[in-house]
Symmetry: C2
Subunit: 789 residues, 2 copies
């Protein structure tokens, strides 16, 4: 294992000094820029060296075959993989006749810095060529939050101490190779140079490349133009040329010592199914033209203004651990930019920061990321939910294929069709349908967006409710069971009555019935009858929730607590993740938990458990949970806080906060884990803040671990803003620009008047009992080790 | 669906008149010849047309990649497929200048006949060429039971009414295409022309081709020579030539009307890992030389004598249904020839009659075929068991990979390594280990072969016993459980305490303890201690056998009877087999049975059930069993007979007896189902004969269904022969060449003196209650419909 990168701990940005060519991929993910439409990894401007080159458009993918040693009914025969779109990041620099390359010459200084308020990635380098010429390069790049299709780079090179000729090759490069997502050569063949040239154009100081994917039949246009802002005394020369996979504008200038060449590169990105090459070109060039007219300062101002607006509510202040403060803002920044301009598309598991998981979206988007967006950027949340709604036809077709009613959303997908090759951990993880429904319900409750509910939310609820009714069975005693499913924990597949699934399905059914009654006209148009609504309520009321009376704990699923315990003592440190070292059947039949499942239910369906049940369940599952998934630590942190183990909550918070910054799972190079970034916010708001939704308003139970002296966070509620300021001894609640708002502080009702700060003391913490223990070697990261100076 | 082929109903052979070029593949399987080393499908001598060309050597296979959409720990990365060895069947005939081809000219008559006593496939054709020349072709082919490596054809062509020039091209053809076993092009690429030329030789009127497989690195030599037995007046000309994939001897003769050319072609087959080309050549040519010296009549006599010897004991006589009589002998002939010259190799699921299942061996060989061989050709049974023993190192390595002790035999294999790509229906079907152990124990009990037990049997028992101990868990109440396994029924995978598995494991453990005590010196050398033996006994005694007290029936596995019933009424006739129309998860979580599982336990572990339990279980599972597997009908027939439903037993017997002859599963073209052929014998001996092993000797309970007037069968016991002659009112027992033998007739002890016939009456049959019903559309074949005139 390589040493983690030594990022600084600035409060509003993250910087890294130096450049190690062997450790680029991790930083490229950390420094990625995106707006939910375009994503650029933080590759060095000159393109080389790079860890993983990445320029993505949300929704641009290619199909590939899905191979099976033994095929089965309902197995998807076609997979999907995100592909690189033509890369507009590249500005190659030549100093006299030598290429600027950090592997050659001497790099006196090198810094990259991602700024959370500016929405830019800045770079400063002082470099001396092998021939002894020294230049200072400064670049600032952004993916625009105000111009959906646009990314831009201001690139400046200055001659330090002697005259030099500098030449820039500003490029669009198509069909850059990507990491192979699968060892099968058929898959690789399908994804090798996936873009076929459709057309290319040169116009002035810019050019446009139009390509088309072979199987998914998407047209992609990427356009660039350049504005030369400064160039020393003499006019630089420019020239633009194209070939099938390359557009290049060459800008050459002779600089005296102290002079600089400054170029702004504007790149526009569009894609569409079924649009002509010229149509695509026009759209991409229009985007570039708009941006050029707005100018670099316009783009910069737009970033700042959009982010100021975002941070006004979303900011989380943390006192007591500077690195945690940075990590929280880092997470919120990435979550926001992954979704800022979704416009009816999903957020992949890695956002647009890498090609990990083939660019697929999973249930953890709705489960983890959407609540953050709903509370901090609800317009983005709506767009993502509208994407799910738009895929309902695919989900209905999948349900029919499985001989089920309603809709069965895919486990992993880009375009809404199922793209998963192992059914025990995908097809039957039906809980994802309830997770999506829950996200829609939460969005409506938090925003009051009735139009969304009528246009999209209700249909999602109705179709998922229908799924549950068709999926389950009635027993002789009137209980309703969901057999043969897989919950969030992938180390226990094909189980009966997974408590998480059943509770979430129950919420789904109740929510569908409620919404259908509230919007009877829409429901009727969806074919919903009173009888059907009654059926949902009946199923919800009869839903089996297994409970182990002997151990006084909820089993993860029926019979789980009777299973053999995994032999953790005999498991070596090098045998994690377990799925890489043990066969599935052995994991499935034993008590071992990959990721919070019952513990996630304690959060997502918190009203179904008594405080005592929560405490007992948390302790029980702590001893079984190995956290082979990045989705686990956040939920464990939240429940640890709820049951009073604040030191443990802090440790889990430290872990979730550093998963990507310290590359704890060893795969951040493939992109940031969006759900665990969202989990940092969850661990703070639902964990330290104790925030829970209830029928009667938001409930809080704020407590800080001893390492923190203050935590403040804001959320949007019904279009207004609520801010909490938590200190060890008391919490101040403030409703900004709001009508009066009722919240609950440790069960006590508070009526917040607009603008008024209400401070209430923290009640004393009872004895939570001994700190729960984890399997050998599976204790969470220590807070001090992660954040100590 | 095409009409079944209209085979005749001769008692000692099976013949088919006419030739439909569109329906060749089925007949090729039915008419296949084999001796367990060489297998020739019943392709027409001239090679064309053919359904599926097939010439196999038992053990010659090629590796291929195993593709997975999502890989997992312990998944085999390399598959195995049987390949065609150079085909020596081909004798192309030219009549004057026209090729003999049943698709051209006029075929006045055509008959093929497989003779069960002669061990030959005969063919007679009268054919008139498009030019009007008429010839009569007679061929007889055999795969020698006395010369392991040899197959031979006597080919005779006669000029009927006018002089003709006849030319024979007698060939060896390598790399003939085979059906593609998998859609993945990587698999196909690996199996495309799998034989690489190593060397080739011409010697007199014959030739030898030596090839090598690329990945499995097996050398294969096929040699031929010819003896011209008659050729009209004038001496024929001969010429032999070879190329990489072809050896051809051309024999031309001018025949006057009424004259004939008669050629005997001897073909020798050898293969070996790590032998030189010349070494292989010498072995193949030596085999041919031996056969030539023995001569055609020598081969023919050898067949007859070996088969006479076999039939002396093995023959089953059936009166009342001529087609059933034929089907039983057909089955016994194929089972015998599949194993006659195994010499340390296995019998594939399709024998050597086709390339179905990629030529793999499965547990049903030990479960179904081995008992037949043990009772009728014990020396072949021993050879097959020694093959399993020889693969123990592979099985031990597989167990270690799965973190288990002892040995885990493969679900499907050629060389002893696992070659299965879907673990829920393979890796965890651990019962196969107990099935193998049971076959070994049965062989030892039936033959008294102590040498085998000491050299091989005990080690199999010990290593499988170790597997069970490591696989299971103890519960708090001292019960022992086998969680997360799959039993024989593939529609209920990943279950706990599958009754079949647990009962078979218990037998395995008891048998291992018993054998280890009897052979303490061998056991000690295997590292077995008294403590370990005690552990086996303790586990056996504690083995959980679930029972549903409410329904008074054994569940297939823990909780099975609580599951939802499959909705058979809603299932269309065109939705079988269910696995092709419904997802696995839905099959797994419901009460629906692909193939006898608990019902198979009623037979394989018959002493664990009371008669009442058997009757209740049989009725219960009849209503759930859809028989999507050819392995089911035989067991259902046996238990139907035991519980007194003789009419139902007869129907299941009719079904199992016609699975291949009438191609009931639509895949006989890929080869005969050896286990269901063996099942015919099982349905007669264990079903109608009521034969069961017990501590105190063989037990019988013979009863005939009303359609049959007499059934007689013989079995070998301890090197001697016992014959039963069953008539409706009484059964005659006769011990031939034996010391006195104790058997049980309906619970009554009979001491049989050598040579003496003891006739005992059949007790009256009590009321078995109403005939159990099957799911809609899943009733067995009707006896009258299958066998009526």
């Amino acid at each position: 294992m390589t040493r983690p990168l030594a990022f600084d701990t600035a409060p509003w940005s993250i910087g890294l000094a130096g450049v190690d060519p062997a450790q680029l991929a991790h930083r490229e993910s950390v420094f990625a820029l995106s707006n939910g439409h375009v994503g650029w990894r933080g590759n060095l401007d000159e393109g080389e060296p790079h860890g993983i080159a990445g320029s993505y458009l949300n929704g641009v993918f290619e199909h590939h075959p899905m191979p099976y040693a033994e095929d089965g009914y309902g197995y998807p025969d076609r997979g999907q993989s995100v592909i690189n779109v033509p890369n507009g990041q590249i500005i190659r620099l030549f100093v006299d006749d030598e290429p600027f390359d950090v592997r050659a010459g001497r790099t006196a200084s090198h810094e990259q810095r991602l700024d959370f308020r500016d929405g830019t990635l800045r770079r400063e380098v002082e470099w001396t060529s092998p021939a002894g010429r020294t230049v200072r390069v400064r670049s600032t790049r952004l993916v625009s939050l105000t111009h959906r299709a646009v990314a831009a780079i201001r690139y400046e090179v200055a001659a330090v101490d002697a005259p030099v000729t500098v030449t820039l090759q500003s490029e669009l490069v198509a069909n850059e190779p990507m990491p192979e997502p699968h060892p099968d050569p058929r898959v690789q063949e399908a994804l090798h140079k996936p873009l076929e040239e459709a057309d290319r154009f040169v116009l002035g100081t810019g050019a446009t490349l139009v390509h088309r994917t072979r199987e998914s039949d998407l047209g992609v246009a990427v356009s660039m133009d350049h504005v030369i802002a400064a160039a020393g005394e003499r006019t630089p020369t420019t020239d633009t040329a194209t070939s099938a996979d390359l557009a290049r504008t060459t800008i050459a200038a002779e600089l005296a010592a102290g002079e600089r060449l400054e170029v702004v590169k504007f790149v526009g990105h569009e894609f569409q199914h079924g649009l002509s090459a010229s149509g695509l070109r026009d759209r991409a060039e229009a985007a570039v033209g708009d941006a050029v007219r707005d100018g670099w300062q316009g783009l910069i101002s737009g970033q700042r203004s959009r982010l100021d607006d975002y941070w006004t509510c979303a900011d989380v202040e943390v006192e007591g651990a500077p690195r945690l403060q940075q990590a929280v803002r880092f997470a919120l920044f990435h979550v926001f930019q992954s979704a800022a301009r979704l416009e009816g598309r999903s957020v992949p598991g890695k956002g647009l920061t890498g090609a990990g998981y083939e660019g697929h979206t999973f249930w953890d988007f709705e489960g983890f990321v959407l609540p953050v967006l709903t509370s901090t950027a609800p317009e983005a949340a709506e767009q993502a939910l509208r994407w799910r709604h738009a895929t309902l036809d695919h989900a209905r077709a999948r349900a029919r294929q499985l001989h089920l009613a309603g809709a069965a959303f895919p486990w992993r997908t880009i375009d809404g069709t199922e793209s998963s090759g192992y059914w025990p951990a995908s097809t039957i993880a039906f809980h994802l349908n309830a997770d999506i429904a829950a996200a829609a319900m939460h969005y409506v409750r938090a925003t009051g967006d009735e139009r969304f509910e009528r246009e999209a939310g209700l249909e999602i609820l109705v179709e998922t409710a229908r799924l549950w009714v068709s999926l389950g069975r009635w027993d002789a005693d009137g209980g309703f069971h969901l057999d043969g499913v897989t919950g969030p924990d992938e180390y226990s597949a094909i189980v009966d009555d997974n408590v998480f699934t059943n509770l979430m399905a129950r919420q789904n059914l109740v929510g569908a019935a409620d919404a259908a009654r509230r919007h009877a006209d829409v429901a009727e148009a969806l074919g919903v009858t009173d009888e059907e609504i009654g059926g949902w309520s009946a199923v919800a009321a009869a839903m089996a929730i297994p409970f182990d009376e002997r151990r006084e704990v909820h089993p993860h699923s029926a019979g789980f607590t009777e299973r053999a315990r995994w032999d953790f003592e005999a498991t070596g440190d090098d045998q994690y993740p377990l799925q890489d070292h043990f066969p599935y059947f052995d994991l499935y039949r034993k008590q071992v938990v990959k990721q919070a499942d019952l513990v996630l239910a304690l959060l997502f369906a918190h009203e179904a458990f008594t405080p005592d049940q929560k405490a007992r369940a948390f302790a029980y599952y702590e001893a079984l949970t190995v956290r082979d998934s990045s989705l686990s630590a956040a939920a464990q942190s939240v429940i640890a806080a709820e049951v009073g183990h604040l030191d443990l909550a802090a440790d889990y918070l430290a872990e979730v906060a550093t998963i990507d910054l310290d590359d704890l799972h060893g795969n951040t190079e493939e992109g940031l884990h969006m759900a665990s970034l969202a989990g940092i916010w969850m661990a703070i708001t639902a964990g330290l803040g104790g925030m829970r939704e209830s029928e009667r308003g938001l409930r809080f139970a704020p407590r800080l671990p001893e390492q923190l002296t203050r935590v403040s966070f804001g959320i949007r509620v019904q279009g207004h803003m609520l801010r909490l300021d938590i200190r060890p001894e008391a919490t101040t609640y403030r409703a900004v620009d709001s009508t009066p708002l009722t919240v609950w502080h440790f069960g006590e009702e508070l009526l917040l008047q607009p603008g008024e700060a209400v401070t209430v003391p923290t009640p004393p913490l009872g004895d939570p009992g001994p700190r729960p223990t984890q399997p050998r070697g599976c204790a969470p990261r220590d807070f001090e080790a992660a954040f100590g100076e």
